[in-house]
């Protein structure tokens, strides 16, 4: 965590004017990518992710197949124009790690036993990055998976929480991500109260972590309601 001279909290307001517990404006939509079996777009303020899901589909080469469960694969990537300094499109170590933890976070919610020997491929692209990209992508992936008919225990909602100076905050933007005292990414199945992704960097006491987890759960529940609303609106069926 680098130090910065810019104070991140002034008079109880964050650099973008938000209160510590305020989330940015969230937009969600489903079904834009017609080729995909499921797709979704989610943005939190200026951070935007688009996700496409393909599957379940046959998995080759055969040696990758597991006879009793299916496979979930995730590729998280950032578009070169998504950040201030152009990002080389080749997969970097950070993207590879994020792909791995995202795969684990979503697999926890997917009934992989329902599609043995097959694979569900999830392609996440960050179109614009202003902090909290991996959780934004997970929120979109959840919608894409549901709209593709993939069997799941629950939708997965995710958010970031952290500490700037002495203040605990939610939904970190880019600057806060870089300069915070600590930041934590949390994904959960909100109706079960079960965490599927948890990563933290910084310096926090155990009590601070528990407080932040409670705040993360509240935020995830709000995101969950939005996800449900987005799906129901898209798939609204009128009585015949």
């Amino acid at each position: 965590m680098k130090k910065t001279d810019i104070p991140l909290i002034v008079n109880g307001r964050r650099i973008d004017g938000r209160l510590p517990e305020e989330i940015r404006e969230i937009k969600m939509s489903v079904g834009e990518i017609l080729n995909a079996d499921g797709s979704a777009r989610v943005s939190f303020g200026k951070t935007e992710a688009i996700v496409a899901v393909y599957g379940p589909r046959a998995l080759f080469p055969k040696f990758l197949q597991e006879s009793d469960v299916g496979l979930v694969r995730v590729i998280y990537s950032m578009s070169p124009f998504s950040v201030d300094e152009r990002k080389n499109p080749a997969p970097d170590r950070r993207s590879i790690e994020i792909s791995k933890v995202t795969k684990e976070a979503l697999s926890a919610a997917i009934f992989i036993e329902d599609f043995p020997k097959a694979v569900v491929d999830i392609y996440e692209n960050i179109v614009q990055a202003d902090g909290s990209t991996r959780v934004t992508a997970i929120n979109a992936a959840s919608l894409a998976l549901a709209s593709a008919g993939i069997p799941m225990k629950d939708l997965v909602a995710a958010c970031s929480v952290g500490k700037v100076g002495d203040t605990l905050i939610v939904d970190l933007n880019g600057k806060e991500d870089n300069y915070s005292e600590a930041d934590m990414a949390v994904a959960m199945m909100p109706s079960k109260g079960l965490i599927t992704l948890l990563q933290m960097d910084g310096r926090l006491t155990k009590e601070e972590i528990l407080q932040l987890l409670k705040k993360a759960e509240e935020v995830c529940k709000k995101i969950y309601e939005l996800q449900k609303k987005t799906l129901l609106e898209k798939f609204k069926v009128e009585e015949d």
């Binding site: 225990k153 609204k236 069926v237």
Partner: protein, 218 residues
């Protein structure tokens, strides 16, 4: 939760009460939906009809497949699913066949289209089909189109009413597979395809039957 309500993965439905569940999971006695779909509740069953997704074969389904590969003792069939099916020699041909002498392509060749029945689905998704069904046959000529499997019932209609309407109005020969593959031959093919794709797009809208009838004209 009420009938025909849209449910999402994780939506709580109700208590199981000993009923069969389809596309749902249980936690103790509580039944939850696994998929995005429409809820159907009866005294015998709680099921969610998926609003999206691939075709997952069920025993008894009549489907349209394409021969993909010829083996020594049968054929691999593409059934528009993450899984392909196997058509064993014994389920395809009545007479005795000496596999050492006979080339199986004599009976079914690569790219042949067949209307067959799913006879076996194991837990590990080994799928078997059979031609030993009253309605099974090889489909010659014609073309195939694919629609989302869950929209098939709409294309068929109550008691077959919709598909019969299309067949009558277009004079085309049409076979509808539960796997979302539809085979059409002859008659006003293009009109038939247009009607079917319209049904797929607007399956949820009321007054569809009248609209299709009008579209197909007199």
């Amino acid at each position: 939760m009420t009938q025909r309500e849209i449910v999402l993965p994780g939506t709580y439905i109700e208590e199981r009460k000993g009923r069969k569940i389809v596309n749902c999971y249980v936690e103790g006695e509580k039944v939850f939906s696994k998929v995005l779909g429409i809820l159907k509740i009866s005294d015998e069953e709680i099921s969610v009809v998926p609003l999206a997704g691939k075709y997952f074969p069920k025993v008894g389904d009549r489907i349209i497949g394409r021969i993909e590969e010829i083996e020594v003792s049968g054929w691999w069939v593409d059934i528009n699913s993450p899984y392909r099916a196997f058509l064993p020699l014994a389920e395809a041909v009545e007479e005795f066949v000496d596999v050492r002498r006979v080339d199986l392509s004599r009976f079914y060749d690569i790219d042949d289209i067949i209307f067959c029945k799913i006879t076996k689905v194991t837990k590990n998704k080994i799928i078997q089909v059979s031609m030993k069904d009253m309605l099974a046959r090889k489909l010659f000529g014609g073309i195939t189109i694919k629609i989302t499997p869950y929209k098939v019932p709409r294309v068929i209609g109550k008691g077959g009413s919709m598909i019969e309407l299309i067949k009558k109005k277009t004079g085309s020969e049409i076979y509808v597979g539960q796997n979302g593959v539809i085979w059409i031959k002859g008659g006003k093919k293009e009109k038939a395809i247009e009607a079917i794709l319209t049904i797929e797009r607007e399956a949820h809208i009321s007054g569809l039957t009248e609209k299709i009838a009008k579209m197909l004209g007199e």
